[in-house]
Amino acid sequence: MTIRVQAEDFDTGAEIAKISASSSNVGGVCSFVGLVRDADEDKSITAMTLEHYPGMTEKQLAKIEAEAHQRWPLDDSLIIHRYGRLEPGEQIVLVVTASAHRKAAFEACEFLIDWLKTKAPFWKSEETPDGNTWVEAKATDDDAAEKWGK
C-alpha cells in the first residue's frame, strides 16, 4: 500500500512492475492513468492547475486505500496523484491494484478512482481561451462514487 502526492511526473510502467512483483501469487494487475485532455465539451484547454490540501490529501488517500484492502483481497496497491500546472497529454493520476483474481483488481481500481474524483481534496483550474475557470464537480462522478456505498 503506497500513496504519493507529488508535483513530479511518474513512471507508470515501473510502478506497475513493482506492484506486479509484490507477491508471487499476483494473477492480475489493473491500472488506471488519468491524463489532461486538450478539450472538455468543446471548450479547448491549454493547461490545468491542480490545487490540493496538503496533509488532508495524504490522510484521506491512505484511508481510502486501506478501505479498498478491506473490501477486496488485494496483494498490493498504489495511488499517485500530481498537483501543480499540467499540460494536455500529461499524466495526472495513477491507480494500480494487484490481486490473485482479476475481478478484485478491477473493482478496487475503479472504486479508488471513483473515490478520488469526488472525495479527494483536489481542485482543478483550467486555462481556456476565455480565461481560467474552476472545474465544477460532475453529477456523473457523484453517481459513480455513490454506487460503492458508504
Partner: protein
C-alpha cells in the same frame, strides 16, 4: 483556530490561511460560516451559496452541524474534482 481556504474560496476571500480566535457563541460550522460571512464583502461573496461549500475539520470532511472548538483546523472548499 486555523482557517484554510481553497480554490475559489481562496480567490474570493483573497486569503489562503488565517488564525482566528474562535468568537464567543460559535459552536459549529454553521455558526462559523455566519460569523465569517459577516466580516466583509469578499467573505460574504465566497460564502453566499452554501450548497457549494464543503468543509473539513481537522482534515476530516464534515457536515455543517459539526462542532468546532479553539485549536481546530477548519478548511473551506468547493466540491472536490480530483482524479
Amino acid at each position: 483556530m486555523k482557517i484554510l481556504y481553497f480554490a475559489h474560496f481562496r480567490e474570493r476571500a483573497n486569503i489562503a490561511e488565517e488564525d482566528i480566535v474562535l468568537p464567543k457563541g460559535v459552536e459549529d460550522v454553521n455558526g462559523l460560516l455566519d460569523w465569517l460571512a459577516a466580516r466583509g464583502e469578499g467573505y460574504a461573496d465566497a460564502f453566499a451559496d452554501r450548497d457549494h461549500i464543503r468543509v473539513a475539520v481537522n482534515q476530516e470532511h464534515v457536515e455543517f452541524d459539526a462542532a468546532v472548538k479553539d485549536g481546530d483546523e477548519v478548511a473551506f472548499f468547493p466540491p472536490m474534482t480530483g482524479g
